[in-house]
Symmetry: C2
Subunit: 483 residues, 2 copies
C-alpha cells in the first residue's frame, strides 16, 4: 500500500481483492462463453410491452389542479414539477423547464462474495420500461426509498437485507452520488458494494461475475445499465505494479501502457495536486451563479413549454419531452403499471479527451453545473451535450472541444460505444460514449472551467459525494474496460 | 509526513508552517501584551449604534405583495422566505418556519504571510450589527458575492484581490462549508487561507497574529467571530511528535496528554476507520427523511408564526424572531444601513463530550439534519440545541446527553465560553460552547445517530464540503485553544 492508495481505502486487502477480480475475465460460476445465452434466456423469460399512452390514461397519476405538477396519487415515487433557472452564462442565461423531483435517496447496491478467494459480483438481468432493448445488466439491488419502505405494495426486493443496517457484510464502497442534473432536481442515490460471507441463494435473474468479466461487458452497447456503471465507477481501477507481483500475475502489467499505470497509481505524476484540483472546483462553484427555483409546472409555459394530450415538450423541438407509458411486464416488483418518463429528443455525446503529460496519462474534465445540481458545479466529461441542440448556435457558444471530438481521427479513438441512461425514469435516453487519446500536440492550456487530472485523482474523489457527475462516473466505468 | 497527514495536504511544508505558528503565542508584529489595548482602540474608533425599527421603516426592503417574502429592492443580499419541513422524526415531524435564503457563495478568507519564517494571519477588528459587543476579531475578508460583485456600491473590500482568480498566492485552505441550517437555506461560504509573499499594507483595523496567539484569544468570550472560527477550524491541529523535534520545540509535546496527541495524529488508534465513519454518515443521510420545500413567507402563519409591526415570531415564544434594525456605523463598506436580522429567543448550547478510548482521545458526534441543510445530515456536536425549547418536553424526546452535559462535574469541563454566531445575519445569537472530558466509565455504546471519532478524522474531513456543520467546526476551533 502506498500512501496514495490509503486515500481511498484504509484496508489494503480491499484493493487487492478488487484487483484480483479485475484480472480474471472468466469464472467457473458463470463462464464467459455462456453469458450471452444466459442473458438472452432471461430476456426471453420476461415478455413485456411498453407503449405510450395519453396523460388522461395515466392511471394512478394526476396533474395537481393548482400547480399543474404531475404526481402519483400516493404522494410517493416522483413528481414532475417546474424549475426556473438563472445563471451568469452568456448564452441562454435564464430558462424554465420541467424537472423530476424525487427528494429521497435510493440504494444502488452490488453484492459481492468470494469464491475460491476471488470476489464475484451478483448482477441482475433487469427490465426497465425506458430501455431501448428491454433487459440490461443491473446492480443486485436498485431500490428507491419508496421501494424499500414498501410503498410499491409489490414483492419485496431481493437481497435488500444485505444493504440494510445490522447487515453482516463488509462495506467496500458507500457514497451518495448525484444523478442527471439536467433532468433531476438534487437527485442522489447511495452507491454501495458490500461483501458477504453468508450463503447466497442465486435467483433466476441473477449471476455471479468477476470484475474482469463485467469490464469486458462494458464494451458491448446497451448491456451494462447506468445504475451498474455508476456503482462500478466507484471501484478503484486498482492497477499497481506492486500488487501485480504480489498476485503472481505480472503478465497483466504488460497489458497497460506505462502512462496509464502512472495515472492510476497515485499523485506522483499529476499536473496538479489534489488540493489544487479541489481549489479549482471550489473556485468555479463559488464564482459561477446558478439560481434554480421550483415553480409550478404550469409556469414552464412561459419558457416555451407546451402540454398536449400526450407530451409536455418545448416549442423549439429541442431538449426533452415528458410522456406517459403503459408497462406490461413480468420481472419487476409488480406486474404492470403506468408512469411518466422523460424522453430526450436527441442522442447525447459524452466524451473524454485524454493525453499523456510528462509520462502520465491525464484526462481533461470540466466543472459543469446543471439546472438540478445540488452542490453547484460537478466534475464532468470533456464534452457533455446533445450536439443537435447546438446545430445553429454561433461558434463562440458551442461547447469547447465538441468539434475536435466529432472530427477525431479514428486511430485516436479508444472507446466508442452507445450506452443507455436510467430506464426507470428516461425513455430511450441514449448517449454516445467516446474516449479519445489525443497526441502530445494537444494543447495543455485549456479554458478556466477545464482541468487536466489523473485517473487516480478522479477515483480518490469518488469516496465522497457530488464531485463527479453521473455522466463522468459512467464514462469512467467504461474506461475501465480499456485501460 | 506520515501517510495519514497526506490525506489533508500533499505539501508537508504547509503542515509544518501551521504547526510552527501554533507553537508561538507571541509575536513582535503584534505583541500579545499589546493586543487588548489595540483591540479596544479599534472598537473605540468605530462609534456605531444599532436599534430596532418597525418593518415599515426598513428602507430599501419590502414584503413581496404576493408571497410576503421580505427582500431587498435590488433583488440582491438575502430574502426571508418560508420553508415547509417534513421529517421521519417522532417528535415534531412536520413544521413551517421563516428561513434566510441567500443562494450565493461568499468568501471567508484569512490572508497569511511569513515573517522571519513564521506564518502570521491578518485578522480584522470588524463591527457587525448583530454582535452583542460591537466589534469582534474577524477574517481578513468577509465578502458576500453581492459584496465582491459590487452591489453594495460602497467602498471596495480590502485585500479581496488575494482571494480572487489570478492571485499570486499559495492556497493553504479552500473548501465550501455550510452555515446554520436551522436559519439558512442551503447556505455555504468558501473558507480560505491563502499565503502571499508580496508586501502587504496593514490597514488600521488589521493586525498580524500567529496561530498560537489566535488560539489563545479563543479562550475569551465573544472575541473571535464565527466567520474566523470556521476558517480556523479548517487548519489542521498539526500536533505531531516528529514535527516537534524537527522544530526543536519538544517542550510543547509535554503540554499535550498522550491521548490527545494520538487523536490528532492519524488513524492508528481510531475506534472506527474513516471509511466506517463515512458509511455511518451515508447510512443516516440515506435513511432519514428530511423534505424541505420553499413556501411563501405568508404561509408560515399556518405553522404558528405571526407578523407584527416589528417582528415575525412564533406563538409559542420559542425558536427565533425576524426583526429589523437600523445601523449607524463607520467600519463597514458603507456607513449606515437598515436590514432584517434573525434573533434567537434563547441562548444555545453546543457541547462536545470527549473520552479516551484505548489510549486515544475520541469525540462523540452526531449526524444531524437541520431544515436548511443542503446535503441532509452533517456531523454535529454531541449536544446542539436551545435547551429552553425542551423545558417541558417529555424525557424521551429531549436531546441525548443534554442532561449529562448540563450536570457535568466541574473537574471534567475543559472549555466553557460564550461565543457569538454571525453578526451580519443574527441578532445577539449566543451559544455556550462546552467541552467535557468524560471518564472511561462513560458508555461507549451510543444511539445509532452518534459516533466516536478522533480529532484527526474530523480534521481530514474538513478538506471537503458539508461534512461538519458550522457549530461543530466552530467548537473544534475552540478546542484548538485547549489541546
Amino acid at each position: 500500500m502506498t500512501a496514495q492508495q490509503q486515500l481511498i481505502f484504509q484496508d489494503s486487502s480491499v484493493l487487492q481483492d478488487f484487483m484480483l477480480s479485475a484480472l480474471l475475465d472468466d469464472s467457473p460460476l458463470t463462464p464467459t462463453a455462456d453469458f450471452a445465452a444466459w442473458f438472452a434466456s432471461r430476456a426471453d423469460a420476461h415478455p413485456f410491452q411498453v407503449s405510450r399512452v395519453p396523460f388522461a390514461e395515466l392511471t394512478g397519476w394526476r396533474f395537481d389542479p393548482t400547480t399543474g405538477n404531475l404526481g402519483h396519487e400516493s404522494g410517493r415515487f416522483f413528481t414532475i414539477g417546474g424549475l426556473d433557472v438563472r445563471t451568469d452564462r452568456t448564452w441562454i442565461s435564464h430558462w424554465r423547464q420541467p424537472i423530476i423531483v424525487q427528494p429521497e435517496i435510493g440504494v444502488l447496491g452490488i453484492l459481492a462474495k468470494k469464491f475460491d478467494g476471488i470476489l464475484h459480483f451478483l448482477m441482475q438481468a433487469k427490465m426497465e420500461p425506458g430501455n431501448v432493448n428491454t433487459v440490461q445488466l443491473s446492480p443486485t439491488v436498485q431500490a428507491t426509498r419508496s421501494n424499500y419502505m414498501g410503498v410499491h405494495k409489490g414483492a419485496e426486493i431481493r437481497y435488500l437485507e444485505h444493504f440494510a443496517p445490522g447487515r453482516h457484510s463488509r462495506v467496500l464502497v458507500d457514497a451518495l452520488q448525484s444523478e442527471q442534473g439536467a433532468w433531476f432536481l438534487h437527485k442522489r442515490n447511495r452507491n454501495m458494494v458490500v461483501e458477504t460471507d453468508e450463503d447466497v441463494m442465486v435467483e433466476k435473474d441473477f449471476c455471479w461475475l468477476t470484475l474482469g468479466q463485467i469490464r469486458g461487458l462494458l464494451r458491448i452497447e446497451h448491456l451494462v445499465n447506468m445504475d451498474a456503471r455508476t456503482v462500478l465507477s466507484c471501484i478503484p481501477v486498482a492497477v499497481s505494479a506492486g500488487s501485480h507481483s504480489a498476485q503472481g500475475k505480472s503478465a497483466a502489467s504488460g497489458e497497460f501502457p506505462l502512462s496509464v499505470l502512472r495515472s492510476a497509481q497515485g499523485e506522483g505524476g499529476a499536473r496538479h495536486s489534489i488540493s489544487e484540483v479541489l481549489s479549482w472546483l471550489t473556485e468555479l462553484r463559488a464564482r459561477r451563479e446558478l439560481i434554480a427555483e421550483r415553480i409550478p409546472l404550469t409556469e414552464v409555459r412561459h419558457g416555451g413549454w407546451q402540454r398536449s394530450a400526450t407530451a409536455i415538450s418545448h416549442e423549439s423541438g429541442r431538449y426533452f419531452e415528458v410522456v406517459a407509458v403503459d408497462v406490461q411486464a413480468g420481472s419487476r416488483e409488480i406486474a404492470s403499471w403506468r408512469q411518466p418518463l422523460v424522453a430526450p429528443r436527441e442522442t447525447g455525446l459524452l466524451a473524454l479527451i485524454a493525453r499523456t503529460v510528462d509520462g502520465t496519462l491525464h484526462i481533461l474534465v470540466q466543472a459543469r453545473a446543471d439546472a438540478g445540481s445540488l452542490n453547484g458545479a460537478e466534475i464532468a466529461p470533456t464534452v457533455h451535450c446533445q450536439p443537435a441542440n447546438y446545430r445553429d448556435v454561433p461558434p463562440e457558444h458551442r461547447p469547447h472541444f465538441l468539434d475536435y471530438v466529432e472530427e477525431a481521427e479514428p486511430h485516436t479513438i479508444r472507446y466508442d460505444v452507445m450506452q443507455s441512461e436510467e430506464g426507470g425514469r428516461f425513455l430511450h435516453a441514449v448517449n454516445r460514449y467516446l474516449v479519445i487519446e489525443a497526441g502530445e500536440d494537444f494543447p495543455l492550456d485549456v479554458p478556466e472551467e477545464y482541468c487536466w487530472v489523473t485517473v487516480y485523482q478522479l477515483t480518490s474523489l469518488l469516496a465522497h459525494s457530488n464531485y463527479l457527475n453521473v455522466e463522468l462516473r459512467s464514462l469512467l466505468a467504461c474506461t475501465q474496460s480499456i485501460w
